[in-house]
Structures are given as structure tokens and as C-alpha cells.
Symmetry: C2
């Protein structure tokens, strides 16, 4: 039981960061508010905060959860771990913006602890523009790198590649967006103990709304056409495809009988599908598609001027 | 090789039915046309016909395919069959209508043959209204029953229950729509030989556009509000969830490296997600949700007046 006190402390930190994210995003939107939806189930509890139809933010969610349970054979198999019980806590968030030139963003940090003593952290941040802006993409990656470098200079290159591989739609042969960082099953050790991992994941969750506020300031006022909105819808269709076909959290949540409405707060408010929606050559749409690839070195990318 | 001649004959029948479906749906729409997109891959070929932005039909697809290949270990496992090679042919179609009072419809028939001699048919038709119309739902099920009864009086009750179980969103605890019929792995036997199975599946594919034309005639001119369109979008979101999370054809197709654009022609042109989108009590929206249940005996349902 004492062991699980660690998890409680981590959960408390994540929970307080949830409030911080909501406040900063509300401030940035200047109109929308987050509605709190607490939930309780046999396995634990959580808080789903949702903003819908803000001024800039079309839909945003910030989810916190803290669950405890017995290890089932299915869970043992998924985790590759033997234990009697587990505790897990996580904070995840997503923003879908009204303006097609303002990207969607996603952040998640999580901690898992078994009564066997095994424990690990996971998380990530990634950006999904409908229209790529190269300098902003470079800034985004540099910011993530600087956070990572404060803990371990190997983190950014490894976690960046991991994001490229994870946020990838095999059936489209394209990345979900311009990536970011992703990591899973990171066990604390002498070099990077639990406290430091908590500090790293907390810093990601803290920087996340600040990163997005800068993107809002740069893009939320841009003019856009009906064609831009249509393209955003098509790109959001891809986002839906990723989340329902590949995303481990979504699929595991739905299959294990999780809280459906909370799990699917990640879905965009609107999405569209068009047969063979290939963008015309030499358009901003096509330029964007050309960057939905793995392995782009954004840190050292020599940028032409912003495409917008 | 001789064995595979059967498959060719069945493929020819399905292929000619594809043209028939396109013609009848074009006639019913009176404005939209199907564009033919033939495709060829190493495993075989097919024809994807797509209508987008018709007058009544917002998006429709009619897909024919005929593929041959070697049995891989993965395929053997999925099919639970040992063989060297297989041939498969199928015809599938979907219609998403502009008017929220005109339901979406789906039809699929398919035939599978292994060089071991094992063979089977599968298929189904189901209806997905955003707003339920009880008399129309009864008519729809009675029509399917009358087709089934022409072959075997046990078909309708068994295939209707199968559809209830198949077209079901576990994570929402609701059916995709008002069901219809669904069947798989039906092996020809003395009572119902290959020829008769072909005749049954061909009749389903032939009646399908006629069934939909009647629904068009009854609903396509109905007045609707922006609220009705918003509700249709939310319901289409559920359709997307079903197809990407559960539908075997979609998931198998995407995982096996099929033709993504053809597989995803089933997706609605637009869909939406709203947090906790629960309809208000005593509205037509809520009435519809109340009927998204398994086990409703539509044939003997004693209908109050149409809810519209």
C-alpha cells in the first residue's frame, strides 16, 4: 500500500496541472470556458474538462484520470508484466481550432505502477496542422528539444523518432502531422529517478498550453476561405482515422470498457471524407502533404520563408 | 484451375449488378453521376464507382472487386482454413443522403473460394437513419424477409439477429441503425447449392437500389432545419466509429494493405463529434436513439403513426 503513495503524489501533480492548462487555454481563447465533468467508475475516477465553441478554440479537452485495479490476464499480456494489481494516472489534452491555419495539438503524460514494484512513465506532445508553417514547426520542435535537453540530451532525438513512428497512418503512408515527441515504458533509474521523471512530464504538461498560446497568437486572426475550411475537414478525417484505427489509448480504452465520452473527446468537432482528395500541384495543401513524412530533421531544417 | 471458373461466373454476375445499381441510383438522384475508377493491384482488380454531391445523394459508392492470391499464414488464421490459394469476389455499396430524413444504406455480397474446394457466401443489407420512421423500418424489414423467404424461411430470423449483433457499437451500447440482415461463411449444400446462393445474393444486390429508390421517394423532399443536419452529423460520427473500430471488411482491408480510397468510400462526406451529445427527452432525436437496440421484432411491430 505504501508503494501506491508515490502514484498518489504523481496523480496530485497531474491533477493540478490540469487546472493550469484549462486556465491558460481559457485565457488564450478569451471567450470559451471549460466545463468540468467529474466521473467515477469502479476502477477509479477522473475529471474530463471540455470547451466547445469558444472564439478561437472549436473544441478542447483536458482529461485527468487516476485508476486502480486488479491485473487481468488480458492486461498482463498487453503490459508484458506479472503483478496482482496496478495503479495508473494520466493527463491528456487536445485542442481543435476554428481557424484552419491554427494547428490541432495533443499532449499526454502518464504513470503506471504495479504492486510488483515495476513502474514507468510515458507521454508526448504532437502538432497537426492542416496547413504547414515551416518556421512555426521548427520553433515547436526546438522548444520540445530544449525541454528534453534539460533532462537528457538523448531524449529529443529518440522521442522525436518515436513520435514519427507512432503518429503514422500506415494505410495513408503519411504522418498524422508534423510530429513532436512520444515515449512509453520509461522506467526510472539512478540517472533519472521517479522524481526527475515526474518533473520532466510535469514540465511538458506545463509548457503545453504556453506553446499553444504562442501558436494562437500567430495564427488565430488569419483570414481563411471556405476552401481552407473544407481542407481542414479532410485533414480532420485523417485525425479520426488515426485515433480510431491506431491510437493505443483510444483502442485500449474502448475495448476495456472505459468512459467512451471521455476517450472520444479527442475527436474533432467536424470531419469530412472525399474520394481521392488529392491536392492540386503547387498549392499550400500539397506542400503540407509533402511534409507529412517521417524523419524530417526539423531542428536543423533550413527554412525558406514561411509558406504563409 | 477449373474450380476457379465458378468464381469467375459469380464475379461476372456481381460485376453486371454493379452497373445496374449505379444506373438506378443515378436515375433516382436525377442529377449526380457515378465516376468509374478501375483499379489493378498484384492481387486482382476492381472498379470503384463514386457519386459525390448529387442532388439527393451526398455521397454514394458501389465497389466491385475480384482478387486471387496465395494463402498467407495470417489469412489462414483469420479464415480458419488451410489451402494454397484463394479467390474472392464481392460487391458492396453505400449511400449517404443529403436530407437528414433519408437514411444511409449499405449492401454487400461476397463469395470466397479456396483451392481446397472450400467455398462460402456472405452479405447483408442494413439501414441507418438519423431519424427513425417506424412504418418505413417495418417495410424495409418485410421486404428483406420476403426476399429471404423465397430461399429459406429460416434465413430472415437468423440473418436479422446476426445483423443486430454485427452492426453494434459496443462502446456506445447501441446498434448502428435499424439493422437488416447479415450473414457470413454460408457454405453451399444440397438444399441450397452454389447456384442458389448466387441467385439469393444477386437478388439482394438487385433489390437494393429499388429499396433505396422507394426511401428516396418518401423522404428526399422533406423539409429540414440546421438542427436536423447537426444531428445527422453526430449520427454519421457513430457510423465512422463503427466502420473504423469494428467493421471487419474495413479493418481487414486497411491492415492487409488494400486500396485505402476504395475501402474508405464508405465514410460519410461529413461527420461530427460533440461531447455528451444526448438528445433532449421527447424529441425525435431521442425517439430514434430509443430504437437503436438489438432484438426489435420489426416484422410484427405494431406501429403507432410515423413519428414524422
Amino acid at each position: 500500500m505504501e508503494l501506491f503513495e508515490h502514484a498518489k503524489e504523481i496523480a496530485n501533480t497531474y491533477h493540478s496541472l490540469q487546472k493550469n492548462i484549462c486556465l491558460i487555454l481559457e485565457h488564450a481563447d478569451a471567450q470559451g470556458t471549460f466545463i468540468e465533468h467529474p466521473w467515477e467508475r469502479s476502477v477509479g475516477s477522473g475529471m474530463t474538462c471540455v470547451m466547445q465553441r469558444g472564439k478561437i478554440i472549436e473544441k478542447a479537452a483536458v482529461n485527468f484520470s487516476y485508476v486502480r485495479g486488479s491485473m487481468t490476464p488480458a492486461l498482463s499480456k498487453i503490459l508484458g508484466e506479472d503483478a496482482e494489481s496496478y495503479v495508473a494516472t494520466g493527463l491528456s489534452s487536445i485542442v481543435h481550432a476554428m481557424n484552419p491555419f491554427l494547428p490541432a495539438i495533443h499532449m499526454n503524460v502518464r504513470y503506471f505502477l504495479l504492486d510488483s514494484g515495476a513502474e514507468w512513465f510515458g507521454g508526448g506532445i504532437d502538432l497537426t496542422p492542416a496547413y504547414i508553417d515551416i518556421p512555426q514547426t521548427i520553433d515547436f520542435h526546438r522548444k520540445l528539444k530544449s525541454i528534453c535537453d534539460g533532462y537528457n540530451r538523448e531524449f529529443y532525438p529518440v522521442f522525436k523518432e518515436w513520435a514519427d513512428d507512432y503518429f503514422f497512418l500506415d494505410h495513408r503512408d503519411e504522418t498524422r502531422g508534423v510530429g513532436g515527441i512520444f515515449f512509453d515504458r520509461q522506467r526510472p533509474d539512478a540517472k533519472m529517478d521517479r522524481k526527475r521523471w515526474l518533473s520532466f512530464t510535469a514540465e511538458l504538461a506545463k509548457e503545453y498550453p504556453a506553446i499553444y498560446t504562442r501558436l494562437i497568437n500567430k495564427n488565430a486572426e488569419k483570414n481563411f476561405s471556405q476552401e481552407n475550411k473544407t481542407w481542414q475537414k479532410i485533414r480532420r478525417g485523417r485525425y479520426v482515422e488515426f485515433n480510431l484505427v491506431y491510437d493505443r489509448g483510444t483502442r485500449f480504452g474502448l475495448e476495456s470498457g472505459g468512459n467512451t465520452e471521455s476517450i472520444l473527446t479527442s475527436m474533432p468537432p467536424e470531419a469530412g471524407w472525399e474520394f481521392n482528395a488529392m491536392p492540386v500541384a503547387n498549392t499550400e495543401e500539397q506542400k503540407t502533404i509533402a511534409f507529412l513524412k517521417r524523419g524530417i530533421d526539423w531542428i536543423n531544417y533550413s527554412a525558406p520563408n514561411s509558406i504563409r
